[in-house]
Amino acid sequence: MRASDRAEEILEQLWILTKEQNKDPVTVEDLSIDRADPELNELAELRYIKLLGDRIELTSRGLKEAEAAIRRHRLAERLVMDVFDLKRSLMEEKACQFEHLLRKEVEESICTLLGHPKVCPHKRPIPPGRCCMKALKHPKSIVSSLAEMEGGEKVAVAYLVTRDNRKLQKLMSMGILPGVKIDIIQTFPSYVFRIGHSVVAVDREMAEDVFVRRESAQN
């Protein structure tokens, strides 16, 4: 059984207070909720928390569950920020809706897509998942910026960062579009790559806005 969205948020808050702010003990007032809240009961029934009067304590099961919820939340923020490129004010709202939709399988692929980010847009750490541990052994993420690539790699464009219109126009005019295959020739002193049958040179600033998928990583 899964905790409700509201219960999950309480769980996250609890985790931040205990793990990141080292608050001990955590009371009902700290969470600014009512003792009679049905969600507290729900969490207690799921055996995620122990209620000792006004004090609330995470069980080891709850701790795990809370960490996973935090991870989903912060990944959602990254997703909304990096890929959908929403403004910060909008981000909070959308990320909150997204996090509850992220389930185990999706969560891992999103994390991989984002290149196993270590911090959320607010610079708070994202707890690593199983996919991150795996990625540590094969440290290259599947999608990353062209600026992080090395000479000799074969990649395909995943998406362009569309924040700066000036750069976007130029990239598109050279035929750098999603799905297009790129052979990287060299990365210093400029980024040089073959796209279709022509060779293009760009500086780091332009390369940073092109996100690519490694061809070999798909196989």
Binding site: T162, M172, M174, S190, H197, V199, V200, V202, D203, M206
Partner: protein, 666 residues
């Protein structure tokens, strides 16, 4: 590059008996570096500067195609990747389409990159242009194993398609026939966009009253993609509907997270991909061809350096040794020294009895013995050898590779790698190079490049004279190169700090390495040297006359006397001030004056190096100054001059101080 040297040359075609169809006009458009100018040359018999890098043509050129007793007007345009303009060249090309209402538009495309090229084809169709597609550079595509089914393209796009190799004349007859015979009706828009965008397009179309020279659908698409020039146009022409159009676009924009230009381009890409799948077969080739290996070596951060130095060395041997020494010595000493000067002196003195008038033509400062001798004996061989070498280098496609290698350094001085083209050209002629700075993207880059060209890039004529002057001493040459390099970087660095503006971005297509064609190299050298001479010779003659007049009136001596103060401060003998006076006309003229002083033994060692450096930092010449006025405006040109002349003397003073302080003996 840029310089349409022969726009005014009389055309060899167009005899009186031809039926001239003045109504029919044909415009050539296409991406940069796909050979539009070669196609144009083939069609009209006119030569337009052709090079192997993008952005060679910065102006529109008009000519006439005459074939089988019919003639049409042909217009060549600067390269455009897209109707959505980024650069000034693209705006110029788009204006031609919008203002000229051509009867036919020929899209010249690079076949090997057909996938990218078709984006413009699609946009031209959307714009309602009577279009024809010319698949040029077909030989390169074939070499790469591409097989193109032109029939499929013809049917699916609904336009005539022809395959050509313009440099070899392949397919040109067919193209000519099509241009003259076919009457093309604009075919409809080739694809439909997502519903939201189509609705917005329809709404905008309904609200546009005035005519734009391109279809309203294209105008709507450009508005959705946020094209500033088109927005301005709509603001001016539809004052009442403007707010409504603005609201429609805003509404559409809000429906997507990404900019509409991105969404629209991706839709086009999808359409093109399905087309390519049916029309193009890639047979492929095995292994990495030698050409490709060489290309990679030339761009390699380590291997690229010796290649660059090797090219500089060859350039030095050809221009600095062969041109500036062997050829100059021969012309100067044998041709002029033994034949022309004595003969001219004899003839003039036998015709004109008055010494004063004789001096106008001959003797020390005469038109023949000074003006023409400088121009023919010293400048001509140097400029010619430089332009031969430069034409070869640019036709191989090396310059974009150099741009890519040097980009990081140029970023420090507020430029980007692209500026390497005007800078290298500046070593040929600063006036041409100043004109070419307009291909740089931002005003800031254009100003910095113009300043650096005027200050620290000596043109070939001057480099040649300097090399001849310093031929005896590697040490002196080393000091010269070091000082000029430092000034270039230092002033560039300061200018970049002082001038606010957007950081330059570097992006450039690197063309394949190609064998330069001898005929193209020679024609290009010829047109450039001719252009140069038209600029230079009158100036030289004018200078001779002014000096002559100045000497009779005594003004010359006064100015020379006045100039001897600053030249004295930088440690030079009084005779040198004459050379500095010439330097105000043209700095190579000044350097040539130094050459005479050195030959006569009046100047050597440290003062020689100091005077060379000071004159090399002067503004290049009157022609370059007027070009700066034309491109950057009065204020900027005068401001630059006001900085450059005193600065040149300051540098000369410092170099003198340092060399003497260190006890350098040259």
């Amino acid at each position: 590059m840029a310089v349409n040297l022969n726009r005014k040359r009389p055309q060899c075609h167009g005899a009186a008996d031809m039926e001239i169809d003045a109504q029919r006009s044909v415009v050539l458009v296409g991406s940069p570096n796909v050979g539009k100018s070669v196609v144009f040359g083939n069609l009209t018999g006119m030569y337009v500067t052709v090079s192997n890098y993008p952005g060679t043509t910065v102006e529109i050129t008009r000519g006439r195609l005459a074939y089988d007793s019919r003639a049409v007007a042909i217009t060549d345009t600067p390269g455009m990747y897209s109707l959505l303009s980024i650069t000034e060249e693209e705006r110029v090309a788009r204006r031609v389409l919008m203002e000229n209402r051509p009867d036919m538009v020929v899209h010249v495309a690079d076949t090997k990159n057909i996938e990218r090229m078709l984006h413009l084809t699609v946009q031209l169709l959307e714009a309602g242009m009577p279009l024809m597609l010319d698949l040029n550079l077909m030989d390169e595509a074939e070499r790469l194993g591409l097989r193109i089914d032109t029939k499929v393209l013809k049917e699916r796009l609904g336009i005539p398609v022809v395959a050509t190799v313009a440099t070899e004349g392949r397919g040109m007859d067919e193209l000519k026939k099509m241009i003259l015979k076919e009457d093309i009706l604009p075919s409809g828009p080739p694809l439909r966009y997502p519903e939201t965008i189509e609705n917005a397009i329809a709404d905008i179309e309904r609200n546009l009253d005035s005519s734009y020279g391109i279809s309203k659908r294209a105008v709507a698409l450009l508005l959705l993609q946020d094209d500033h020039e088109i927005w301005q146009m709509v603001r001016d022409r539809e004052p009442e509907r403007y707010a409504l159009v603005d609201a429609i676009v805003k509404h559409a924009r809000e429906r997507f997270v990404d900019p509409l230009s991105y969404i629209i381009t991706i839709e086009r890409q999808r359409f093109i991909n399905t087309l390519i799948e049916d029309a193009v077969e890639n047979v492929g080739v095995k292994g990495i061809p030698l050409r490709e290996r060489l290309s990679r070596l030339s761009m390699h951060p380590v291997a690229g350096v010796p290649i660059f130095l090797g090219i500089i060395y060859l350039l030095y041997e050809f221009v600095g040794v062969f041109g500036a020494q062997t050829a100059v010595d021969f012309l100067e000493e044998t041709v002029f020294g033994q034949y022309i000067n004595p003969v001219a002196n004899r003839i003039v003195s036998s015709i004109i009895p008055w010494k004063v008038l004789q001096d106008l033509f001959v003797n020390e400062y005469g038109i023949i013995t000074l003006g023409i001798r400088y121009a023919i004996a010293i400048i001509l061989p140097i400029v010619t050898t430089f332009f031969i070498a430069f034409s070869i280098i640019e036709d191989t496609g090396y310059l974009p590779r150099l741009a890519m290698l040097i980009d990081r350094v140029f970023k420090k001085i507020g430029l980007n790698g692209r500026a390497v083209i005007p800078v290298v050209l500046g070593f040929g002629c600063d006036t041409m190079a100043t004109m070419v700075t307009r291909t740089l993207e931002t005003r800031r880059e254009r100003v910095i490049a113009t300043l650096l060209l005027a200050l620290a890039i000596p043109c070939s004529a001057q480099v040649g004279v300097i090399l001849a002057l310093l031929s005896g001493s590697t040490k002196a040459l080393g000091i010269f190169v070091m000082v000029m390099g430092t000034v270039f970087l230092f002033v560039g660095f300061l200018a970049a700090r002082l001038m606010p503006g957007e950081r330059p971005l570097f992006y450039m297509e690197v063309p394949p390495l190609r064998w330069p064609k001898l005929s193209n190299v020679l024609t290009k050298t010829y047109t450039r040297v001719e252009w140069y001479f038209k600029e230079v010779l009158p100036l030289f003659i004018l200078a001779s006359i002014l000096i002559w007049a100045g000497r009779i009136t005594g003004l010359f001596d006064i100015v020379v006397k006045l100039l001897s103060y600053p030249t004295g401060w930088i440690g030079l003998p009084p005779e040198a001030s004459k050379a500095f006076l010439y330097g105000f006309f043209r700095r190579d003229f000044g350097a040539a004056g130094l050459y005479d002083l050195k030959t006569s033994g009046a100047l050597s060692g440290v003062p020689l190096v100091v005077s060379i450096i000071t004159i090399a930092l002067f503004m290049p010449c009157i022609a370059q100054f007027s070009m700066t006025i034309k491109e950057r405006g009065w204020k900027m040109a005068v401001g630059m001059a006001a900085f450059i002349f005193p600065f040149a003397f300051v540098v000369g003073y410092l170099v003198n101080l340092i060399l003497n302080g260190l006890g350098v003996v040259l």
